[in-house]
Subunit: 449 residues, 2 copies
């Protein structure tokens, strides 16, 4: 298997290099880059496989960034808990204040909760769903107390895991905060804040269209297409020295200036990572602080996080707003709990209630429907949150390999999950996760304790 | 000036690349790589110069690893507080326990303390010495309380700064702990623990000789000599992809196997970074844990550090034991205070008292004298600590650009300092720091409060 992992095809290497941190793939993608079948959760357990263990590790257990081995499955399951060992990163400081306690009230009745996966008639238990989804760690809060907590593979409570596209939700929330505070005008044009984007497709979009990903931009995240813009995006943001013959953009910001229009702004939801990078640039320009600094000052520090988080950076030190955040699992849960409480946590109003209310109400379901997510009927997307509009009013942050912050207001439940599913796309993961979350919520409502 | 910084000569680039993290230069080196004169502390203040500020930063304010700009003065003054933004790193977790408080009892009488620099007849104040030494941050503990604390440039209390060769002292202390516990035999040969080193100069040295740097190995840290082994060491440990025509060792461990003998083991002190890397390998082999893990489990977590630290890694993920640690300043002070208290801190015995006692007694002053440090008469080196054998029994950890942990038992004083002096060598820094430390100690003894 080590041979399989390390002897990557040129395409796989290019892909791995260009993805640079597991850039979030569109959740509509159903198939992993290398296709299947994949070893299951047990067979791909990164702790059992012994990646990067030993002094030195055996050659077939070394994971590298520059040869692409870091992103091949199953080595990727180690990588997601160790991005910082492969690439430059910037700290997201928790500051030096006290940790906001997450009281524990563990329950042993959740493993047996049953649900029926989407597109299936064969029930599954909650515990079984964790393996089905290649879960690396999961915390369930009920009424603010930890009722369930598990770690698998190489993730530890004191470790950090790539949040992937959950990063977008943090950036969207920061933007929503600044809008609520009047610092950022949602109706203003992008080029008002970032003149460098005037000639790009973003220039005449509004900030709100960027926040809700209804921009009309040409940005394919189809990895099967060698001309997809996502390759150029990854190559631009790759922190390694550029090849001598490289002529493309050399940073995320340079890339954003090359994005061409496609379609009309404001008519439909299109999940495109470049929107979040553009939003990160807007935030940095408006506040004079990087997304990492903002995250530290506006969320991480006030919420009393128990660990620093970090973000990957490109070659000029700009954090990857579209997917570069790694955090501790319980800090992800703290964030979810703060949002569930309408922005209040650790004794303070961290996100304005009006901003959380706007997120919870969601965006346009009609715009969302045009994106064709068959498994997400009636959903919408608002300020980089996925809103279910289900009976519980649930909404979520979602990352490409199964990372999530799932907030269920009616059940007073928050789920924070890190995962490393081999398939890069929630379409493959949702069938055994969305109904599991909802079943757990119903169980907690029925047996609240 | 930006032109000066970015238009580096080939030699400067090679040097910067090879140093890979500001590899500790021998403290005997009196002249900086580029010679002088250098802008003073104010003119080189990295906050004023605005490195890496802006979205994006202006091109002449971007600092990169791969072009060597990170290590050119004055950009280096930003780099030392931001190594992780330039290269891969591994976390040194503080764990999730409570922080051990460092009570504060700030005094305003220390700035005016006067001393006479070495080789000078012109007195200077303590406050003046901070600029003279390009201090980035300094904390003075007296009887365990913070009596003085200052930050300059881009270092913040919640930031981390490169400890450079102070890293060695942590590694030496870990080794001393394992010796005291009987896990590691100081009299045992290196190749007993690391058979891969049998054919190298380290093979027939004892662990103690490595710990005290009395090995007879060929390892020049003379950066003016293009054939100095320190270049090969840096190239081996450089985490960037190796050039196509590169045929040398590809990791720190591979490099160590190439080290040739020179002279006789156990006869004289020779300050050579490779010893610490070899010691790190021994520790990893004996414990099954990396130096970063050991540092977390044996020191950082038990001492109740307030921040995670981190270490740079080579291309196979091995931490740079010789100089790769970055820490918060107050955590460095906690470490010193723990050692001052014979290994007790945060309510527990962290380092065995017998190990601290052995360090405090020092090594052979005769062996040390042979190294010819004119400014360090009567000193010795033990378990990677510098022992003054002065009337106060002071001993210290020392880094190449002025970093220190200075423990003065008689004055019940600990100084933790981060600095970024343009000259890579304590010979240029000691004249305005060692007498300053001693003057402060005498002042605290005379006016203890």
């Amino acid at each position: 298997m080590s041979r399989t992992v390390l002897t990557l095809s040129r395409r796989a290497r290019q892909q791995a290099l260009s993805i640079a941190l597991g850039l979030a793939l569109g959740p509509a993608l159903a198939a992993g880059p290398a296709g299947g079948p994949f070893p299951d959760a047990q067979a791909s357990d990164p702790a059992k496989l012994g990646w990067m263990v030993g002094a030195p590790p055996p050659p077939d257990r070394v994971i590298r960034f520059d040869d692409g081995s870091y992103w091949a499955f199953p080595a990727m399951r180690w990588t997601v808990s160790n991005f910082r060992q492969l690439m430059p990163t910037v700290n997201v400081s928790r500051g030096l204040g006290p940790v906001a306690a997450l009281p524990s009230a563990l329950r042993d009745d959740l493993d047996a909760v049953r649900f029926t996966p989407l597109n299936s008639d064969r029930p599954m238990t909650w515990r079984e769903s964790l393996d089905a989804n290649y879960t690396d760690g999961i915390v369930v809060l009920h009424r603010g107390r930890i009722v369930y907590e598990r770690y698998f593979g190489v993730l530890k409570p004191e470790g950090q895991h790539g949040a992937m596209s959950v990063t977008k939700t943090f950036v969207g929330t920061l933007a929503a905060m600044l809008v609520a505070e009047g610092v950022l005008e949602a109706g203003q044009r992008v080029d008002h804040y970032v003149p460098e984007l005037a000639a790009s497709a973003f220039g005449n979009a509004t900030v709100r269209q960027v926040m809700d990903m209804t921009t009309g931009i040409k940005f394919s995240e189809n990895y099967a297409d060698p001309n997809a813009e996502v390759w150029a995006h990854g190559a631009a943001g790759n922190p390694l020295p550029k090849p001598k013959d490289y002529t493309g953009p050399r940073s995320y910001y340079e890339f954003l200036q090359t994005v061409k229009p496609e379609g009309v702004h404001g008519e439909a939801f299109h999940y495109r990572t470049a929107n979040t990078d553009a939003l990160g640039w807007i935030l940095a320009r408006v506040t004079g602080k990087s997304v990492a600094q903002l995250l530290s000052e506006r969320i991480w520090s006030p919420m009393g996080a128990e660990q620093d988080a970090y973000m990957s950076v490109d070659s000029i030190g700009m954090p990857f707003a579209g997917g570069g955040l790694s955090t501790g699992l319980r800090d992800l849960a703290r964030f979810g709990e703060m949002i569930r409480n309408n922005g209040v946590f650790n004794g303070r109003q961290i996100v304005p209630a009006i901003a959380v209310g706007d997120i919870r109400r969601g965006g346009s379901t009609a715009d969302f429907a045009k994106a064709g997510y068959a498994q997400l009927p009636g959903w919408s997307y608002r300020s980089m949150w996925w809103v279910t509009h289900n009976a519980h009013g649930a909404f979520a942050a979602r990352g490409v390999h199964g990372q999530t912050v799932y907030v269920d207001p009616k059940a007073e439940m928050v789920i924070a999950r890190f995962a490393s599913h081999p398939v890069a796309g929630n379409a493959a993961i949702d069938p055994t996760s969305l109904p599991a979350y909802h079943a757990l919520a119903r169980h907690l409502l029925a047996a609240p304790r």
